[in-house]
Symmetry: D2
Subunit: 364 residues, 4 copies
């Protein structure tokens, strides 16, 4: 209820601040008998890890996950999977200068107002470090989905004004990891990286868009009214730090179509794939109709604002309303998008795994 | 778990298809002692009602709500508020022609796949009639918020290519109800209505954007990680039929700003209002920082696609994959936006009322 | 969260006071495709109905259930099943005499304290009339269980000091409905009825025990830690008005055995029934081990106190602490046990149906 | 949903098996600003710890809890409190002999049936070691209750046939910790200990009753229908390993009273304590009426069976139905009751803390 649990049947509950002993979580409801490939979980964490390239923060965090329970002889037992990631590179003194001050567009002020107490070190619970736990939960969810031949792939499609003009269908998503910005189109990736380098030099930050594609879902995932599949995906994405918008299928662009232009016409596919013969000629719907997957690709966009921590001095006030200056120092990301890619995938995987389980009880 | 309940402490659970005896719901968790102004609930339902103007469906539905419980001598008792709205204008035969067919971009196909059974009359549970229950729940939530001086106001800000260029700060939102399209700017409203008339004449449909502003929230609403206030708002909006996108604060536009430009600088307001003296000079954040309200206005946009039901013949297939034609007939909306305005407000009110209750247990 | 919802996947949410327009509820999560035998639901309601014999209250209530949604052509659609039962025999004036007074051992005082407001007519939400909705939910759950060959049978095993000495294995449970007290042993039933007649004559009330047996469950139902199958059964029973205790298997009697005496020894059954060949020689465990069903019969006892409403004058106080006398009048049950039998079954059926659904996601 | 979370607002989610790296959990929803006395938490764990006296198992476990998050400068921050307890004394080889066998009345068989996989070492998730996490959660809940002047005290009131005949009102509960059996009456405690010594010598086990008293609760805790306060207490107790029954107030004994004898008469107390002047002359109700606390003492009994692990050889079968013998060896408790006392208190404290928070949203 305090909002640290995600999912209804496949559940992730997380804890931890960047300057405590460890962060961690509990994955509950993962079905028994699933093989856990620890190397895969580790590689997913590497994708989120700070310091992975010169356009991310140079902070060093080991992000070594330790599974505590729920796995026996390499397989899930149906019991909760507890895990921790120790905090090994805490420099609490780095935050002494902001102890009494409210950083602009951070959670400092709202936390103080809500709780009457605040762990100022590294932003406490509002630290993006919390997302490492989402990666662990998401990696386990991905393993479950993989076993069902469902894939989740995200990539950076826009940084500031630099936009990848191609649609996902025209991209080779296997190339996403080839660039440090995680854009599968080499030419655009190059421009994005150059732009971020400029942004970094001026001590500033920039946002953009992460796009995501989910392939291989059966028809039937999602619940029809309040828990529509895209509503759960939207909530998942909006719960990620710095996200300001979500759209799926044609999204905001839908308003430029008439109904006759946007409707996806059903046709018989002729083939017998997964016992389904019915498909659509277009996929403006983004793979979801009436809140339920229809078997086509699911795709959506997530808008990230530039992160609030910049390397420039900023005016602000302290708890008592006195004016103060926030110094621009520390180790931070000029652009979080490359590191956000695996987080978007993880949250999408958690939603999908949950939807698969929920769908198991739809019929007698 | 089947997704017919919304909210965690202030909960709305709904039931009903357009062609059963009634639709209805249960509002559970509404605090005791709240005065229920039935006239207000009724007037809210009128705003959603079909047939309210010539640019909405001409279907007639009475939408008379009957409260069954939970209210005693005009006040809530703390017990569940059961209500029903009878279905008085069902013409099931209207749907015989689509009994075996899958309407493009409707939920017919996905329902059949998920449940193996489908009430084809009026779309069954996927009917937008379901939203009448959201209005009832939302009206009660609004009464609770009103008692706390929190207001929720939505309006139509775009229809197709016709866009209201003014920001909400420059609008007189008390004028929203003066136009049948529910756009508070008379000149733009006129253009929108004319455009919808054209769309209707060609038997087509068009989408657009509903914007919403929430004023008067205290700082502290929302939970910091998975249940961020805007994540819950986003889910609420995305759960409404035909919604394809959600953005709050600067939203997708954030990607065109650098961090130094988008950050909201804290200042001391000088005044002592609700014991808070700290405010921000700008509100790019949209009233929410770190997932928690900061006391500024909350504002967001919701993108609606053109509804799928058009008055033109469309190709499709039946359950067995045989080709068929969906006739364009019946009584439907060329543009759902004016009727969506109270639904957006209702869902926002449900989120806020829930957030207020959840915030009551944040501190000892 | 306000406690009007029962179950996690197979959910019943109820509303209603005895003196509103109607009581009712929503069954959500019932899988699609289940045939609903309305006659069966009606017959279950008859078993709970007041006035069914001379040893129950002579109040007349029709208890006619109207299903509003979720059923199409006789089968569940996977959507919420809304239902109402109109209140046709409200005599609110009957309660004028207790308007300001707190009836001993009723919920009058605690409701006033908790909510600051109270619908005094018929006890408001604390009225046992609320259990009619449990019967409807339970009847649908029973239909689901029947389809899986799981049966739930309760009976009265003790009234005051009159105890049915036989174990359930030595009883013919098909005879339960033959006596108005719902005790399957004719001789004991006769004594019980006579005793209740005496109790009624003195304007008093008496309690007793309802026993319940669940047959046909597969192994695997229940969750291992906090949601052990018997913990959910216990909660279900304790949520029924007037219940003071719950025990399963050997229950409180277990304390008179040593471990070597109480352990159930596993043996190979030789037969291949449902792919299981392993059974136990005894069933002290009551069909549940480690919180999970083992395929043996589940059995438990539920203790009911004598109901608080008696036909004798009682001393009490009003809201302001002034002394007052509660008159013993109205139409009430000298012993609720016969009418409690179907309620116990209903709550057990809801627990089991939920456990069956939850177990569907235990393995990949 | 997999049943590893307890509570709705004050939530404990646990993980861990006795032979993994650690057990642990997350306390979510504990209000911000509560001082955490770590010594108290530690002392509570000591009360549950194996090897604390010669009548408990001689297994050595350090049970050192490490808090990972959610506490800053000694106070709760409103964020999740993660904790782990390392497993330092795992002797997995001790369990090689039962790897393929089903121990009588253990969870071995039901786990295998439910999950298709089983961590046989120490019973895996069914190990009573899991209760250490309940102690940690319960200790934090107790600190919260203490701050509200609510106390929770349990004690052993029966071991086998040896029964403490006094009621809780006639006992000095501050003496509970003076005997190793945790019975506050010295003479009875002596008999209990002697009896357990005999039981241990024959390699057997014995059960009994733990009684619990909660003092200082305000009126108003508990929800009126499905989440009655005693229903939640009952579920909490029944979720503890080896518990077979629960009763509150007069419990099963209620059936020997008539309504006129059992009703608790309201009187005006004369005094003004917590703004309440109304009390009852008797407390047969056990401090709860209509599912809601009335301000009187809450008391209840919990029946424990003798634990299944005995030091005698037992016949059983293996997974394939072949006969096998379970050797009676290892380090186990002849009677779990003394160690169960803090577990009963912990679970009761979790229920009460949750009820206090839920009650905060009952009124506007």
């Amino acid at each position: 209820m305090a909002g640290n649990t995600f999912g209804s049947l496949f559940q992730l509950t997380t804890f931890g601040e960047s300057h405590g002993a460890a962060i961690g979580g509990i994955i509950d409801g993962c079905p028994a008998g699933l093989e856990i490939d620890s190397d895969f979980v580790r590689s997913e964490l590497q994708r989120r890890k700070p310091g992975q390239s010169h356009i991310t923060t140079q902070r060093k965090e080991e992000d070594e996950v330790k599974f505590m329970s729920g796995i026996f002889e390499g397989k899930t037992t149906g019991h909760p999977i507890g895990f921790i990631i120790e905090n090994t590179n805490q420099k609490s003194n780095d935050y002494e200068h902001i102890k009494g001050a409210y950083r602009p567009s951070h959670a400092d002020f709202t936390y103080q107002e809500k709780y009457g107490i605040r762990d100022h070190r590294g932003g406490g619970r509002s630290s993006a470090r919390e997302t490492a736990c989402r990666i662990v939960g998401g990696a386990v969810a991905k393993l479950y989905l993989k076993h069902l031949n469902i894939s989740v792939q995200a990539y950076v499609s826009q940084v500031g004004h630099i936009k990848l003009e191609k649609k996902y269908q025209d991209l080779d998503l296997s190339k996403t990891e080839e660039s440090i910005i995680r854009c599968p189109d080499a030419a655009t990736a190059y421009k994005m990286v150059s732009y971020i380098e400029d942004i970094r030099k001026e001590g500033n930050t920039i946002g953009g868009i992460v796009s995501c594609v989910i392939k291989g879902t059966p028809a039937g995932l999602g619940e029809p009214v309040f828990d529509k599949l895209h509503a759960d995906l939207g909530k998942a994405m909006l719960s990620i730090n710095a996200v300001k918008g979500f759209e799926y299928g044609e999204g905001f662009n839908s308003i430029h179509f008439k109904g006759s232009e946007l409707n996806d016409v059903f046709v018989s596919s002729g083939e017998v794939e997964n016992n389904r013969k019915i498909t659509t000629t277009t996929n403006h719907s983004g793979g979801i109709q009436g809140g339920i997957s229809n078997g086509q690709d699911i795709y959506f966009n997530v808008a990230f604002k530039p992160v609030a921590t910049i390397m420039q001095d900023q005016q602000s006030v302290d708890k008592d309303g006195n004016e103060t200056t926030i110094k621009g120092k520390g180790r931070h990301d000029p652009c979080v998008l490359p590191r956000a890619v695996p987080i978007v995938e993880s949250m999408a995987a958690l939603v999908l795994a949950d939807a698969v389980l929920r769908n198991k009880v739809a019929k007698i």
